[in-house]
Subunit: 421 residues, 4 copies
Amino acid sequence: MSLLADLLSPLFDRRYASAETRDNRPMRDLAHDLLTSRGEVSGMALARQILDRYASMEDENKRTFLEYLGRELDLDPDAVQVALETYRGDPSRRNYVTLMSASEPPRQELFRRLNQVPGATGKLVAMRADLIRFADGDPALARVESDLKHLFKSWFNRGFLVLRPMNWESPAHILEKITRYEAVHAIHSWEDLRRRLQPEDRRCFGFFHPVMPDEPLIFVQVALTKGIPGSIQGLLAEERENLPVGEADTAVFYSISNCQAGLAGISFGNSLIKQVVEDLSRDLPQLKTFVTLSPIPGLMAWMRSVGLESHMSNPETLGPLAGHYLLNAKDKSGRPLDPVARFHLNNGALVHAIHAKGDLSPNGIAQSGGAMVNYLYDLKRISRNHEDFANNKKVVAAKDVQNLARTPLPETQDSPADAGT
Amino acid sequence: MSLLADLLSPLFDRRYASAETRDNRPMRDLAHDLLTSRGEVSGMALARQILDRYASMEDENKRTFLEYLGRELDLDPDAVQVALETYRGDPSRRNYVTLMSASEPPRQELFRRLNQVPGATGKLVAMRADLIRFADGDPALARVESDLKHLFKSWFNRGFLVLRPMNWESPAHILEKITRYEAVHAIHSWEDLRRRLQPEDRRCFGFFHPVMPDEPLIFVQVALTKGIPGSIQGLLAEERENLPVGEADTAVFYSISNCQAGLAGISFGNSLIKQVVEDLSRDLPQLKTFVTLSPIPGLMAWMRSVGLESHMSNPETLGPLAGHYLLNAKDKSGRPLDPVARFHLNNGALVHAIHAKGDLSPNGIAQSGGAMVNYLYDLKRISRNHEDFANNKKVVAAKDVQNLARTPLPETQDSPADAGT
Amino acid sequence: MSLLADLLSPLFDRRYASAETRDNRPMRDLAHDLLTSRGEVSGMALARQILDRYASMEDENKRTFLEYLGRELDLDPDAVQVALETYRGDPSRRNYVTLMSASEPPRQELFRRLNQVPGATGKLVAMRADLIRFADGDPALARVESDLKHLFKSWFNRGFLVLRPMNWESPAHILEKITRYEAVHAIHSWEDLRRRLQPEDRRCFGFFHPVMPDEPLIFVQVALTKGIPGSIQGLLAEERENLPVGEADTAVFYSISNCQAGLAGISFGNSLIKQVVEDLSRDLPQLKTFVTLSPIPGLMAWMRSVGLESHMSNPETLGPLAGHYLLNAKDKSGRPLDPVARFHLNNGALVHAIHAKGDLSPNGIAQSGGAMVNYLYDLKRISRNHEDFANNKKVVAAKDVQNLARTPLPETQDSPADAGT
Amino acid sequence: MSLLADLLSPLFDRRYASAETRDNRPMRDLAHDLLTSRGEVSGMALARQILDRYASMEDENKRTFLEYLGRELDLDPDAVQVALETYRGDPSRRNYVTLMSASEPPRQELFRRLNQVPGATGKLVAMRADLIRFADGDPALARVESDLKHLFKSWFNRGFLVLRPMNWESPAHILEKITRYEAVHAIHSWEDLRRRLQPEDRRCFGFFHPVMPDEPLIFVQVALTKGIPGSIQGLLAEERENLPVGEADTAVFYSISNCQAGLAGISFGNSLIKQVVEDLSRDLPQLKTFVTLSPIPGLMAWMRSVGLESHMSNPETLGPLAGHYLLNAKDKSGRPLDPVARFHLNNGALVHAIHAKGDLSPNGIAQSGGAMVNYLYDLKRISRNHEDFANNKKVVAAKDVQNLARTPLPETQDSPADAGT
C-alpha cells in the first residue's frame, strides 16, 4: 500500500504546506466561488479550505453546510422542465447537454471541483458518512447523500479498484485498520492479528482505491484447510497447527468486512469474493473448494418471532430450525430473511451445510444459538444460481440442507407465527 | 509508469487468459445481458467480449453498435417527465433517486459495467474518439458522445490524475508515445527525442490516470534557461550547450500536447501547467520566471482575412501586427481569435513579449510568418488575470506589447476587413 | 523493505521449490564437491543442501562441521611459504596470484560458493554467530570466525548498505524486529513501539543490505526536540505532547542498536549516525544541534572498583563522579573505560553535558546510578575531534563537564584504587 | 532498473552536492589520509575526491596513480614472512589475523574505503578496465589489476546479482546500453532493437548489481521458436511473423554479451544461462528445448592454419570441417580451440547440430564461412556433461555431429598442419 501511496503521492504531499492564506469568509461563499470562474483557476486553494474547515467542524456546523448543499445547490425542477421540453422539440446534442446539465444539481459540480486536492476523495466519503447519520427525516440532506452515492458508484467503479493481499509484511498502519474494521470475529490484539495474517495457510485480501491507498474499502479473511470446517473456534484456535499450503484443498472465507461507512450501499463484496476465488485458483491449483463459514445473524430473532425460544439452546433441533430459517423464512419481497444469506445467494453461492455448534462465542450464541453455515461458491454454477435467485427467488441448497429444512418444525409455545415463513 | 502498471496490474493481467468461451450472439444481446441481473454476476466475461469485439470491428459495424447505444439505450423523456412530476409533488429521497435514474440514459450504466475489466477505460476512451469521428450530423451518436464526455469528466477528475516526470530513464514504449503525440514541434527521431529529454536543463511532465498507466493524457516540455528565449530554433538547436541547472532562472513551457482524441473537451492543460510550476518552484527555487514560448497559429489567416497579406514576410511590421492580433482581434463572443492565446489567458497568464523571428521553420512561417509569443505565468497575478479575462474579457499584456499593438495598422490592399478587429 | 525484497526476490523465490533430490552424503562430501569442478555447475543445489542442513543441526553437529572447516579447509603454511619464495624471486602477476591464492584458506572459496543461493548471506551471518559462541579457546574455530569477519567486511562494505527510515507505515515484520533488537531502552508493546515511531517528532533509521532486505543491521532512534533533553523518562513519557516538527531545533539520538550477532566487530554505527545527521540536516534545515542522550554503562562498576560505593545514590556527587569517570578513567591503552564513550568519542563527538537524574529506570540506576550523558556531534569539529582522540587519546569535553571532572574526588572508604584513573 | 535505482538512491543522490571544499593535494596524499584514522571519519569526502579526480584524468596521470598503488601500497613480503613464522609457532586467532592482514596489500583496504561513496563500485570497475589496458608488461600494475579482480569476485558474487528482464518497457537509457554492448549480432537502430525486444516471442535478460542499477553486467537474447533454427538471418528477419508464445517449444539463446570491460575474467554467463533456463521453464512450461544458435569464431582461422583455405567457401565440405574443428581441434591443454565451444561445453551443453549456411553476414562469412552451431542445454545431462568435460576433456556431441566430424578431412594444399588437431 505504502508503495502505491508513494507513487501517487508526488501529487499529494507536503507540496502545499506552502502557506496558503486562510480565507475566513463563510463556507457558502467559498463554495460559491469554487463554482464560479474563479474556481477554475484558484480552485485548489478553495477546495482545500472548504474540506479542511468542514473536517474540523462540530456536527452542528457540518449540518448547516450540508443543508446549504441540500437547499441552495439543489436541483431546479423548473429548469429540468424547460430543458426537457426543448429537448423533446429537438433532441440535438446541444439540447441534450442542456437537459443533462439541468438534471444534475449544482452540488455535483462542487463535489467534482472539491476533489482536485490530495485526500479529497476520502474526505468526501467521510462527508457522506455524516450525511447518513444526519439525513434521517430530512429529504434535502437525503438528496445530497444520494448524489454522493451516485458519484461514488462512478468513482469507485470496479475497474478502478486494486486488489491487494495483506499479510504480516504489510504496513503497520494498514494492519491496524484491519483490526479496527473487522466486523465479524473481533481481533483482540496484535498477536491475534498475527495469527490471522502470518501463517501460510491464512490469507487476507482487500480492495483499495488508488487515491485512498491507506484505506481498505473491504477485506476478506481466508483460511486454507483440508476439508470444509464447521467451527469458527476450531478455525481460529490459538494452539492449532498450520497446514502446509500444499495439503490444502479448500479456501474458507470466514470473515468479510466493509470498512467505509461513507461507501454504504456501494457493493464490493461480490467482486471481491470472485476476484479472490480466481486469484487463489490460479496461484494454488490444488484448491478445489471455495466456501464460506458464515454466521446466521437473524436466526435467534426469527425463532423468537415465531415462538420457538424454548428451542434456542437445543442443539438437536437447532440444525433443522436453521435450515428452515435459511431456506423458507422470507421477507415481504420473497427473499430470505437472513441478510448474510441474501448476500451470498445473490452472489450465486448455494447453502452447503449447517453446523449447530459452529460459533460458541457469546456473540455467536446470542445471534444464532451457535449455528453457522457454509455457502459454497461453485464457479461452474454461480451464474445459474444467481439468475435463479435474482429472477425466481430460488434458494439453491445441498440435499442435506434441504432435508434438514424439511424436518417438521417443533410445536411453538404460542400460535405458530407466520411472520416470514 | 511501468512500475505503476505493475502495481495495478495484479488486477489486470493474463489472469483471464483462462479460456472464456466466446459468445457469438449479436452485440446488442450481450449488451442487454450485461444490463440485466446476469450482468451483475457474469459481467466480467460479457464486458470483455463486448469491448474486444468492438475494438476489432470495422467502422461500419462500430457505427451500428453505437447507433444501438444512441437509439435503443437512449434517454426516455416520458419517464423523465413522470419522475419529475412525482418529485415536484414530494421531493423525497426515493423520488429524487427515481428522477436521477430516469434522467440518465441506460447506456451510462452500460458504460460503468463495461469498465470492470482491465483496460476497459482506455477502450471506452477510444470509443469516444470513434464517436467524435462519426457523430457529425447524427444527434443520436452525438448524445452518446456527450454521455461519455460527462462520464470522463468524473473519471478523469483532477484528483485522480498522477503527474509523472518523463526523461531518458522512462520506459521506451512511453517515450515512443511522446514522439507520436507531440503536436507543436515535431520530434523526428530518437536522437531528437533524447535532446528534449536527457539534458538536465530539459524537463517533461505528463498526467496519467492509474488505470491507463502507459498512456499519457497530456504532457508539457520545459526548457530551463537563463533569461526568456525568443526563438524556438535557438532553444532546440542540436549544437547548443546545456545550461547547468543551478544557473537557470527561467522555465520555458515550449510545447504542450494533448494525447487522447477520446478525451477531447476535457481540460487538463491548466492543471498541468500549474502543477508543474509548483513542482519546479519547490525543487529548483532559483527559478524566478515561468513563461511559454508559444506559436501564434492564427496570425497569417487573420492577416489574409484583413487584407494584409503583403506584410506577411516583413519582419518590421510583423511584430506590431502580431501584437494587434493578439490583443485586439476578437471572436464574436469578444474573446481573442487566437486559440493558444485564449488558452493561456484563460489560465491567468499575460502576453509578455512578441518575437518576429521566433519560429523560422516552414510550419512557423506558414502559420505566423515566423512570429512567436511568450505568455508569462506570474503566480501572484494568475488569479486576478484569469478573473479579469473570464469576467471582463480583458487581455492583460506587458507594456511593450501594448505599445506594439498600438502601432497604427499598415494600410490594407483592400478595404480594411473588420472581421475580428 | 518489502518492496526492495520484492524487487530482488525474482531471483530468490519459490523458484527452486522444484524438488531437488536430497543428497544424504556427509556434509564434508557435499562441501568437497562444491569446491571441485562439479560445484561450478551444480553448485546451487549443493549450496542449498549444505546451508539448509547446517541450519537445522543441533550445536554438536554444527560444531563438527565448523571444525571440518577449521582443520581440513585451513590455510596451508607450507604452500604460503613456497609461493612467497617464488614471488620474491619474480613478482609477476602469475606468482602474485599464486601467493594470494595460497594465502587464503580454501574455506573462503567455499563461503563464496555457498553464497549463490537465495538467503545464503543471512545464513552465513548466522554461522558466524555460532562460531562466536563456539570459538572460545579453539583456535581453529576462531580462524574460521575471523575468515567470515574478513569476508563480511567486504560484503557489508558501506557502499552496499541502504539507509531506510522506519515508521508506523513500515511492514509489521520489520517493526517486530525493531522491538526485538532494541538494546538500550526496551520496547514493551506495540503501543510502546508506536510511540517511538508514529509521532512526527520521532524518527528511526536503519541500515539494510540488499540481500537481507527484511533484516536491519543496525538502527538508531531519534527524537526531535526543542533544546537538549537530560532525561530519557521525560523523552519517552507516554503522556508527552508531540512537538510540531517546525519547532524542533535538536535531533537526539537516544538509542542505537546492532541487530546481527554474526556481524559483531563490523562497525556500522559511525556511518549510520553521520548519514542520519546529513539526511536530517538536509530535510529539516531548522535542526541546529545533533546530540545523543546516552547511558554511562560502566559508571557503577567503576565506582565500586575504586571504593566509592557509598556515593552511588547521592545525586550531589554523582555528576562530578560521572565527569571524572568519562574524562579520566582510562583502560590500559589509555582510552576511556566506558565503551559508549569510546564509541562516540572515536566518531568525533564530544562530551557535552552530564545529567545525574537522566535515567531513573531500574536498569539506569543499576548501571550508572541514574546518570546519563549527551555526546554532541558538531559536524564542523568531528574530524578534528576524531583525530585528536585517535592519535592523541584526547577526550574533548565542554567546559562545564571539564569543570565537573575537576571537582576533587570524595574520599573512598578503602584506599583509592588506581584502577582506571 | 530505475525503480531499483530509486530505492537505493536515497543513499546516493544529490545529497552531497553540498559543497565539499576541493582538496588540491596530490592524489597520493589523499589516498594516504584515507588509509589513516582520518579516513575513518572523513573518508567519504576523501573517497569522492580521489574517485572524481581519477575519473577526469588523462591516461598518463591515471597511470601515475595506479603505479603508486602498485608500488607504494604493495604487498610487503618481509611482513608476510615474519607473520607466517609467528603463525607457524602459534596458530592463534591473533596470529592468524596478523598473517591474513600481512598477506593483503594495503591497497585492498584503500579500495574498500573508496567504495563508501555512491557510484564508487562502478568507478572501481572502470579503474580495472584502465589497468587491463595499461598492465601489459608491468607486473606492478598487473598485481593491482589482480587485486581488483579478487575483490570483484567477492563483490559480484552470484548471490548479490539481480536478474532482470529487459523489453520495450524498459528505460531508454538501459536499452541504449543493450545496443552499445551487443557483441555478437550488431543492433543497428532503435527499430532493430525493437524487433529484438518488443515481440512476445523475443526475450532478453541481464544480470545487474544493486549498486550499479543502470549498468547491465551481462545479457542474453532469446528467441522463442517452434523447432531449432539454423539460420541467424532467418531468426532476425525484419519481415518475419511473430510466433504466438503458446506455440513455441524451443528457447534459442542467440546472443550473449558481457558488458563491463572491468569485470573481465569474472564469469557470469554460466549462471545467467542456467537462471534463464529455469525461469523460462517455470513461466512457459511448453518450452521443451533450450539451445543456442552460436557462431564458430575460430573456424576460418583454423582452416587457414591447417592449409584448408580452398574449402572455405564450399558449403559441401564446410559442415564436416566445422564438426571436425569443434570436436577434434584442441589447444595445448587439450580443450577445444574454439572459445565459444569451450564456454558452452564447460557449462555442460553439448554440440547438437551444425548449419553450414547459418550466418551469411559479412562477419559470419569472414569468421566461419557462414557456419553456425547449436549447443544444447539438456538440464538432466548438464552436470554430467560438465564433469566429463572438466575432468576428462570429453566433448559431448549429438550422433549427427559425431558422424560429420568423422568425415575424412579433404587433402590440404600444404602438408597437413598439426596445429590444434
